[in-house]
Symmetry: C2
DNA sequence: TTATATAATAGCACATGTGCTATATTTTTT
DNA sequence: AAAAAATATAGCACATGTGCTATTATATAA
């Protein structure tokens, strides 16, 4: 029958990485001196989306981030200028 | 009644940016000498997802990209070390 | 060429990103 | 303090990202 083996499927939501991104975005937006509303308008995305990103409620897509970087007129290397915590090396610690 | 004003809503799919990202990913993956399958395993995401990204069929989320960067053990500034075409400055040209 | 590994497609189900439209909450100005 | 501006939340509808499981196409090795 194949019904769905009781939800084992889990999508990734990298909270720590998204928090770091949020911090970076807020910082750059403030430096640019624009409100969420202005940024949303310039980037052609919704205000709610900017707010959701800054409050780490969602996991945005690359296209959304690209639009933001363009609107702020900053290179991707600037908006992504932060480090991901390396839980990679730590490897299953229990 | 509010039925839905005949689909005006359009999500962003930044083809050129996603192509640039795809090129960069393939390059880095090859430099690391890993197959899509190995990368998928290391990153904890599905093989089909890696293929979709490299063939520009989807618009991945940040968490997915973060997982890939971790798996390849490269900083975000490396994987995002490319420029977005600046259709921003051009501004509505018609 | 034949076998084998790698990459590309496909289709389904489910989770979630995004736009919209409001409303509430917080911060900044006056 | 009151008013105004900026942020944060919410909920709905729809689009689409992601995992799975196969299958097909392509490249590499024998």
């Amino acid at each position: 029958m194949k019904i769905r083996d009781t939800n084992t499927r889990k999508l990734i939501f990298d909270r720590s990485g998204l928090i770091a991104f949020s911090v970076q975005l807020k910082k750059l937006r403030h430096e640019a001196g624009v409100s969420q509303s202005q940024l949303a308008y310039e980037a052609g995305i919704s205000l709610s989306q900017i707010a959701r990103i800054e409050t780490v409620r969602i996991n945005p897509t690359l296209s959304t981030v690209f639009a933001i970087a363009r609107a702020l007129d900053i290179p991707l290397t600037t908006i992504f200028n932060f480090s991901l915590s390396d839980e990679k090396k730590t490897e299953k610690y229990f």
